[in-house]
Symmetry: C2
Subunit: 459 residues, 2 copies
Amino acid sequence: MSTDFDTGVVVVGAGLAGLSTARKLHDAGVDVVVLEARDRVGGRTLSQTEGDGLLVEYGGQWVGPTQDHMYALIAEFGLETFTQYADGDNLQLADGRLLRYHGAIPTGDPIIAADLMDAMVELTSAAMEVDTAAPWEHPRAAELDAMTVETWIGSQPYCDGAKVWLRTLTRAIFPAEPGEISLLHALFYISSGGGLEKMIGIINSAQENRLTHGSMQVSQRLAGLLGDRVRLNSPVHRIDHDADGVTVHHEHGALHARRVIVAIPPTLAGRIRYAPALPGLRDQLTQRSFMASTIKMSVVYETPFWRADGLSGHMVGDNRLVCTTLDQTHPDRPEGVLVCFIDAAAARRALRMPADERRATVIEDLVTYYGEQARNPVAVYEKSWLDDEWARGCYVGMMSPGTWSTLGPALREPIGPIHWAGTECATKWNGYMDGAVSSGLATAEAVLAEIAATAEVAR
Amino acid sequence: MSTDFDTGVVVVGAGLAGLSTARKLHDAGVDVVVLEARDRVGGRTLSQTEGDGLLVEYGGQWVGPTQDHMYALIAEFGLETFTQYADGDNLQLADGRLLRYHGAIPTGDPIIAADLMDAMVELTSAAMEVDTAAPWEHPRAAELDAMTVETWIGSQPYCDGAKVWLRTLTRAIFPAEPGEISLLHALFYISSGGGLEKMIGIINSAQENRLTHGSMQVSQRLAGLLGDRVRLNSPVHRIDHDADGVTVHHEHGALHARRVIVAIPPTLAGRIRYAPALPGLRDQLTQRSFMASTIKMSVVYETPFWRADGLSGHMVGDNRLVCTTLDQTHPDRPEGVLVCFIDAAAARRALRMPADERRATVIEDLVTYYGEQARNPVAVYEKSWLDDEWARGCYVGMMSPGTWSTLGPALREPIGPIHWAGTECATKWNGYMDGAVSSGLATAEAVLAEIAATAEVAR
């Protein structure tokens, strides 16, 4: 391959990971080009103004304590945030009873609550023994990776109500059916988020803050720093590579560069054709990484009527279509908005329904939770991430059982001039916006270290 | 899309499924073109003459009773077969002891044998309750799909020796780590093969016959009937589709046709770009279908020395690199050949070794099983199917836990003018050569029925 390069590093994907990695390289004097398949930046964040000016968050949206990379960008760009509404009681559906509770852990039924506390402590302390940089090094990695979360839940002495809630938790957090992921993956993910309580709570937890003008702003500001180095509508379909560099083929041509950073989910990275073909261990890893199933529906009412009932708008369900809700009302707007998550198997059931039936079923669920006032929304905004060609699921790519323990190292190891980034590569807040940023920065650092070690001329 | 077609049906993939479907359509008067990525036909069969004329079977090779589609082709083409060598005793490694047994079920230790009989009866009878055309309709589908085979093995009252063997069996047959697949997938697969005993045995079982001049002959003869309708070196990267037809973009151009049949493993089918993008449910299914990990190594000796010791050359191991061996000696040749399967996690361990270390480890395993005479082979031929760009694993694509029960219908359902075929779609002998053929024929029938129903002019 010639060394007459078009640029120093090509970055594939203009989500938070790709933009963060590109920005760091750019700041260090490396010439970069970011190729993005979509007609926008932001990846799995998507903030859009609808109707007469309501901001709808179709994708990732919350930030919370210890997500320092995101807060640093928010501070740098001077972006406005507000606190997620969390006054009043949350709702919990347990054995058909609608119970009220306050705080992160459903305490509406004391027997269930006691079991939940036990389970959360047990899972969180087991998680802390998993090194998120190398889950395969856990002394019982093979055993924990050969057992589903469902098997773990089923084997515990908790009451049925607690087991139902643990299943709902799995659908809401990971998000996956408990039978789809291994206990090792679950513990890895809990470890990366700093423990279950931090992940499920609102105040002082991962759902504490929102960006007033949308989370996609962060990506837009990063892209602004990179100017015309970010090229939209440019899906990459092939990467030729040798020791000297790469040729990245996209919809409108090809770029020759010293290196490429592929900053998209592993399953999508596996769809690019590499020449020569990538090693079997890497390919088998990407075959075994799959995107979660999430549909996010924002249901808009004239007012946030639940607040008058002393409800927070946060609900944790059982096995209905709507898995959880949160109050998505914007502080500058009169409408009340409930954001509904349809997760895991429920998302698949939902997609088999015609759109109007799906919407009617969601409304029926909301009536169950919030009463008759929920029956007549003024608008509904829906996003099936399963159907998004350049995400193919949300929030995050997961490992199928047996993958971490036998193929894990292939997730992050570069292959010659090809490096990897994305929230799936993150060791902290994996699956979150913060993980995307930290993963992008870590990969940029690795590339800069390589450049320094080989005394290359940074272009 | 215009209706000025280049051909009636484009078939993607010239393995046994693609060639069988194309041949049936061709015989019915439909104009077909088969696009194959490789420089050869035959897919996951690969018969090659090495050295001074030794036929090496690098891929699928055996046929046995009830594989009627394969036998029909063998008869039609007048291909010669011979019986797999199975005289003498098989070997079984149990708790470090090397035991001899005869027949399909390891009976070297009577206590282990009794448990194995129980397990095989239990698994086979449970399997017969799974409808291979719709595993998701099993009344306990969700439960069976949320539990790994490892969890099932661990929960049984069998002795440790039996559990070790059940794990080896899983690695050899499915082939997968017991912690990678769900019990539902295992039962589906056993059901499709007509029961475990038929799958693991040699005589009167799935390993009974070999083709004297190689299994790839079947594909070559099928391709011969299609002539220049089969185009090699033509990987397909994009399929545009609408109600009128498809445009199939490949390495050297594009073909406009009424329909396309994608006859490659689901995970590879998922790497093609479809415009418009395929529904989320189909994409999520292909994300959750992954190829097994198999390395096949043929170790050649001056003579089949084990036969003099009264050994068949068939061995079932424990957790070493070599999972099973069979006598691969060709009846027309003097050399003795042991074919070694390195399956599942062992294949991944093996690929982390340099080639000479991998070979030395395999030889060391063979010395353990067959004694010092195994130390000095005259040649070794190896194929890592994980590293094969157009297979990415062997023998078969599997469903990750939770997939059959929530996404299963998307495996075979056509999407407009796009149909699917391949051994992964088969309801009988799924994963075998016979399943590839029957799947190809079934899809051709479905397409012919559509053509008849719409009174299209068959081109």
